[in-house]
Symmetry: D2
Subunit: 342 residues, 4 copies
């Protein structure tokens, strides 16, 4: 960590400041220029609070050299983390972070048992390894359909039993956790990415967590939220890009493709992409899915609905089962070019 002192800072106060760090066991290196005095702080600075240091009256600027996250950093964990998802009798588990592209598919919202079972069978047949479906739904409007809740989870579990697909669904409130015993992968949604109490609880859970990037979260903030979960005890975190908010709105969100290579380099955690929420446009989903695989994504989460016109939620971005099947025929060819398979 580099600390630049204010021009008019008292010599004596700078000395006291430096001594306080030495006392905490940090190494220090002082550089005095004609205009600028700079302190290099050496040791484990990853958990220091740059803002708090900045409040000191002698300090002008604080610049991090090492990232503020540690457990999520590839620096301290050079090998890919491989997250296995799926357990229970008859369930076919699969991994994220190895040489397979894990495709999660299913309806935005669980609506009926028939619907979710039918879609589950269709996506399994097409090659999906996991079933998604929303039971507790975060909706901007209090008047919009809020999901079937506990009932929706039951329908998902039926589909899991009938197909053997591990299931992925969103947890919005810690009080819902009691219903999640048989869920295989817990999704923390974009709007809860910085719900820190919820993240801490996810650290105590014995299940992998799918952490979605907030719609205006920086990459650093996403990794800090992963760090919350990991520092609380759960290292099975999968990161998910689902589009960010920009000045334009020709798509619902802007899929930030660069985050894939960046996260793969900066962190050891698996990275997947949600092209459905990013685009918000059905016809664009397959193209974005191919680009994500070409960019090195470890997986995809795609909305599929058997009757998108009548979907209770996000129908305009859901693929029909046959469109999803078409996509699953071409995706493996892109995966292969990267030495992977779907």
């Amino acid at each position: 960590m580099i600390i630049i002192f204010k021009k008019n800072a008292e010599e004596k106060k700078i000395e006291e400041f430096i001594e306080s760090w030495k006392a905490k066991g940090f190494g220090t290196h002082l550089s005095k220029g004609e205009n600028t005095t700079i302190l290099g702080l050496l040791g484990d600075t990853s958990t220091l609070d740059a803002n708090a240091i900045c409040a000191n009256e002698v300090v002008d600027v604080v610049q991090r050299v090492t990232a503020p996250y540690k457990m999520a950093s590839r620096k301290f964990h050079p090998d890919n983390t491989v997250v296995t998802v799926g357990s229970g009798e008859g369930v076919k588990s699969s991994t994220f972070g190895k040489n397979t592209i894990g495709v999660i598919a299913g309806p935005c919202s669980v609506e009926t048992e028939e619907q979710v079972v039918e879609i589950a069978k269709a996506v399994k047949k097409a090659g999906a390894r996991f079933l998604r479906g929303g039971a507790f739904k975060p909706r901007t409007s209090p008047y919009a359909f809020q999901g079937l809740g506990k009932k929706g989870l039951e329908f998902l579990l039926t589909a899991k039993k009938e197909t053997g697909l591990p299931i992925v669904t969103e947890l919005m409130d810690i009080r819902q956790l009691k219903y999640f015993d048989d869920v295989d992968l817990i999704q923390i949604g974009a709007r809860n990415m910085q719900n820190f109490d919820l993240l801490k609880e996810m650290g105590k859970v014995k299940k992998p967590i799918l952490l979605k990037r907030g719609m205006s979260a920086t990459v650093k903030e996403l990794l800090m939220s992963a760090e919350y979960i990991m520092a609380s005890g759960n290292e099975n975190v999968i990161l998910c890009e689902r589009g960010i908010r920009t000045f334009d709105n020709y798509t619902r969100n802007c899929m930030d493709i660069s985050i894939i290579p960046y996260l793969k380099r900066e962190s050891h955690l698996p990275v997947i992409i949600d092209p459905s929420h990013a685009a918000g446009l059905r016809w664009m989903v397959p193209t974005l899915a191919k680009a994500a695989v070409a960019a090195g994504a470890d997986g995809l989460i795609i909305e599929v609905h058997n009757n998108p016109e009548k979907a209770l939620c996000d129908g305009e971005q859901s693929l029909r089962p046959e469109e999803f099947a078409d996509l699953m025929k071409i995706l493996p060819k892109y995966a292969e070019l990267d030495g992977k398979r779907c």
Copy 2:
């Protein structure tokens, strides 16, 4: 609501679509142009889900004419909502939304009993009407100081007793609510603005709610979050702008001053400004506070710390008590020009 049909939509399906709305009791007006067929949907469309309509195969574009919020809209509630904050023996309550500028002041984090009591006395003397202080703190890093929690609330209550100032503090998780009995105004932070389960719970609480705008929330989303609280039973909501995220970072966030006149016109709820979090720079806070009052804000929430260099959190943006006192001498003059007082 205006619905534009796709160019190649089947006549018969359009008719079915229109019939389905008539059956639900909506009025319809159809316009057929050479290139475009347009449906005007009449009735209470405020609670309809535009996205869901858009998923229908015959629909190209859906355009709202009326806002998707109702209880928060001035249209259905022309007079200002006046929110009274403060109760208990010896406590001096005050209002937001009338002709006073309600100034809330205090430390970012509660650190010790002495600290919060000393600051409380100082801000009261300077003219603040409410005391703020964080006990449960949302921090980006799991390694940063997370607040004193329950203990912090106790210190705040001591300060309340000693000064008679109503207290304002943040609730991050519904499980903390049991400690909030004597809190006067519950703050929902920017990162929880779309924690919908928490919002619903705030609707059941018998206390006013200070709802902060998310750092990339649109005005419409802010009002929808207020609507969540109101539709769940609590109409005492105060809206708070605390800066938004843009492409620049010379300030921590960009204080969106235009939201004040916009919200005052669009909604009947009181609107306050947090210049401390917006700027993140101590020296800029007084200027932004004056601008906010000139723009018609109903109140301000300002960080004050007796020793910002040693603050455990956000010291670089906290005013010293004497700086706050100076500001409180000039602010009433700006308030007066708008027919208000501090």
Copy 3:
């Protein structure tokens, strides 16, 4: 175009307003609801100014149904525009917009004749079809290297002669045009995307134009800028995405991959990607290039430098010739999956 009238608008003024449009030859359809009166305006509304209409005292909202661009729209020009670039003795021309991926490569800035000739030979050997190089350089700082100007163009022409590669370079000011006689493709940079006088001049030029998206230009604005060139007489426009500005800065800009499928659907013009300026990071360029091809780009423009450490400009984002050659071995495989070749 849909016009929604203000609630309290005078009946008589609305009638006058409608008559004024009829007089101009537009068709009109009026819908009167209990709360809302809506006018559908029919005819060629693409060139109307929505803001100007909105200023009328009876008008509340104006909503476009048809796009404000016409010549750039696929609606009126269903087939792909194929732009041929390159002319002169010994020059090998190539196309954008057909079934080839046109790769443009070369240094950010032209520095010496030897440099640009050496790089030109290297990129040609690797498979590039066009040579880029900056002679007139837009630099944020007046103290930064501003390019070699006319001399730089001469060096580029030498490289063109020696390799037969058509050349691409940026025009910043209309007074430079006199030196561009032998340039094959004129680049209008991101900062000049809305330099409307320059766009009009580009309409009069008998050469294809490479129009880069401004760093915070919407897709609609990009297409309107293309429309400026086309409406002024030059239909050979190639659109280029080079990254947009968002709230995050882990890359220099955010490459907006979704713009490829969107532009290919909305317009008939070729679309290429500049992964070098988007990422600003050398190691990320090959990954983004692959993703762009997977998403359907018609070409790429990539910075290559034989000695990036000593580059006078943007060295940190330039590939070395051998890195570029490696990329050109894998890119055709992605192109093939889309039925194209490099």
Copy 4:
């Protein structure tokens, strides 16, 4: 300037790198930590190109300590620059940057001689010190009204003669300069803020320049563009905030109020605000104007039209003369609180 070396950088190459800076006359300070080696570069680093340094293979991060602008910086020019605008017989000149709020008012576009003279008289009577009016208009669409051009300038000059108000108008292309002899303040619009050739030409002009911030330009970029003009020979630059582009669109742009105190601290140049283009909404303009004055603006530029419903451009954001007169009655009271007058 602080340079952090890559972890695995060769010792010998670091030494060469350091020697190269010493040879250029810079002072150097080296700090070696266990993980990090840091170089402090001392001397006049303001004109160095951080990106170019970053391209060196041994360099990991470059961090500026001093700003990259010099002539625009208050550090090297502690006193306010006072810009006087207006010259010619019968013309009443006024200043920006002293203790007056310079109000510029007039129509968005010049339409007829009668229109501009009538508005000029009205705004003069209300207290405006300068007349604005667009003759050359930057319009997003090639089909929108492009301004009267040279004819419009003539009408403005008539209004100048009749009222004695100095005139302000936009220059879009260097070829228009020949018509600007009697213009008092040349405006460089937001879309040309980084038209570097135009900026250089403005450095040679013997008139003050009104430089508008680009709609997504950082504060640093705005100051660098001012630096271009100043370094080319013209120190009479007035900076203008006119709203930035964010994720929300309830106003046309987001007026960034914090830029006023920031620029006043960081630079010595006058700062004015354009609330008309920022809001894009007539009713909001007076509120934003008051806030700007409360925040310390040195001036305002406000659109006034005698018949906004029929305006050829931006009518929806223009004040009527009587609305402007009302604003000019209240503004001086805000100015007075800041020790200024209108």
